[in-house]
Symmetry: none
Subunit: 207 residues, 4 copies
Amino acid sequence: MTDQTAFIPRKSPAQRRSRETVETILEAAARVLEAAGPAGFNTNAVAARAGVSVGSLYQYFPSKNALVAELSRRGAEAMLAALEAAMAEDGARTLEQDLRRIVRAAIGWQTARPQLERALDQMEERVGFDSAAHGVGLRVQTLIARLLAAHLPGAAPDQLNEAAADSLSLARTLIDRAVERGPIEARALEDRLVGMLIGYLGALPRP
Amino acid sequence: MTDQTAFIPRKSPAQRRSRETVETILEAAARVLEAAGPAGFNTNAVAARAGVSVGSLYQYFPSKNALVAELSRRGAEAMLAALEAAMAEDGARTLEQDLRRIVRAAIGWQTARPQLERALDQMEERVGFDSAAHGVGLRVQTLIARLLAAHLPGAAPDQLNEAAADSLSLARTLIDRAVERGPIEARALEDRLVGMLIGYLGALPRP
Amino acid sequence: MTDQTAFIPRKSPAQRRSRETVETILEAAARVLEAAGPAGFNTNAVAARAGVSVGSLYQYFPSKNALVAELSRRGAEAMLAALEAAMAEDGARTLEQDLRRIVRAAIGWQTARPQLERALDQMEERVGFDSAAHGVGLRVQTLIARLLAAHLPGAAPDQLNEAAADSLSLARTLIDRAVERGPIEARALEDRLVGMLIGYLGALPRP
Amino acid sequence: MTDQTAFIPRKSPAQRRSRETVETILEAAARVLEAAGPAGFNTNAVAARAGVSVGSLYQYFPSKNALVAELSRRGAEAMLAALEAAMAEDGARTLEQDLRRIVRAAIGWQTARPQLERALDQMEERVGFDSAAHGVGLRVQTLIARLLAAHLPGAAPDQLNEAAADSLSLARTLIDRAVERGPIEARALEDRLVGMLIGYLGALPRP
DNA sequence: GATGAATGAGGGTTCATTCAT
DNA sequence: TATGAATGAACCCTCATTCAT
């Protein structure tokens, strides 16, 4: 897979500076969210942490929610990338192998910055947009649905999408709980997740 | 078991009035939470909805959080009752039968007022007290742990408690998602939950 | 001086009960004030501490301020009694001897319940009535003024009253500060007070 | 002494605006305190009087108490300046001359805005921080203590500090009372204060 | 574009006082 | 008379968002 950014025309200095500011703000937002949780997450704190004025923050993000959304979108993008990478490896065969890939991607993603993802989970629910709201979350879901399709022959597209969404939610729940309890034993967690998902999928109504 | 309340002396008028007010406030709180979600849940709204002054609210609940906690406690109590009833039925044998009982209790509980329980989930996370904070949540967990113990011989108490907590979380997640999607098909949901839990528990490390 | 209460007709039981309730409330108020200071002094706390309903409290005291006023009045009454006793001893001669009597009475009064008197000082100032508001404070002041008159021949009545009021204020200030610092060395404090007052009075304009 | 402000670089517009707002708020706070006393002193009133929003007030003062503290700090600073100026005049010799200087500084300070200083006294007591809480009050006290040291040879540092604190309290009390009574006759008041302090200091235990 | 001062609605909580029982 | 539930005005403080410079 070629690096698409290589073909994007060089930004003008102003544009590059903009881009850097956006990144700075997002990273600051992430850190504030990690450190203070949803309750302590406010635009002033983010701007201060980013070393930028609130005004600038609002230049790039129309609202606080937009900031959260972008944070969450990026997380999903990382998940998407991991998932695509995992699926590109070779032809996967068994359900378990496929699930293992999904699960690994999810664990990798959520444990990279566990506090952040947990906090985002909570904020997303609060604000009322689930991760499928932005395209990326939807693409993740679709990818999983496609993956599941191979092992659930005859399932309707809606069913597959629901199964994919549920699987992801379940995985996130379990990972969140594990993260809460302390350092992760990735392998054991992976096994539990795979087992759980196999059980879940096995109980879906067959057409 | 005779009805003990029959022997409790009639409350004095004043006390009865208090009790009624408390109930009114709690019901109002539940409705506000259902209608407006965690974001729109504020003490003024609750008091207004209850047709009561804020002062009265604070006479019975020392803080907004205490109100949420009580709401959640009551929910957990309902769950506990359902669970105890289910377990008292007769001698349960298989893991699946036991899980089915747990799952039924959970579904019954969470679908009685689905919006409310969902909102409570979110508030609990936000405020940082999980349902185990009050005794009831803990008792639910303990009960489930005990139930699982019979089917996971040799598991350490800590493991059992974690398994119980995870099971409950997973169940709630799935039920929440189902509720979001619309009216529930209780039987199909139940099957999926049981399957999922069997899968999860089967993947736990054996001693 | 005859005991006037001896001639007050025996109270009916109801009246006695009333009187007791009043005393209970006042003592509770004093204790709350001592324990929580002006900031924590509120009618509900007083009623609770007295084991009485707020309603009852308002039966006997028309307002919170009335309660404080009565507390302060009683303190002043104690001071008055001490002062009268001191003056009745015999014919006082020198200024210093007279001042010593005043000062002793003041110390005795304010150190009997130091926290209480300090808190009252603060509340009185806040509420805006000085202790001369009720008759007793005035009588204390008048008594002191009369005492000073003997040593400030030719001073106008107004001057005497001002001197008396100032003397009392100064004494209270110094005693308060001493109380703040910890246990009192009554004798040393007394000396300082007397010295201070002599200095003060000596500097008054002579007619 | 040249005017140092002449050399301070012009503030940027934004900073100047801030500074002005701060001053506006402080002046409004002073006026509210003078007009309404401690009881009527609330942040909304201050903001309204300053023609500013509450938000602005809280941008510059983290709490209501911080506002009071700053007001009191500024008063103490004025007192400190007056005191230092008075002491720098020349080599003071007698106790009386030194006291006269202290007393003049105190009178000048407290009669500049008498209502304000009175109200501050009360609030400080209520809130529980005496003026020594901020450095300035302490420096005033230290300065007085040093001044007294020359006339109380052999006194321990603690004794000197107590004497300084007491002297200041006594002075403030007497000035407050004088202010209450109406327009001040500065010279007569000064004499009374000096006399009182000499009396007080003369009665301190000699080592 | 950038800044950060300013805004003000909103929300949690307290407490003196009233009044139906 | 006693009770204590109920009231609601007041108050402190926060924070998303705007806008003059």
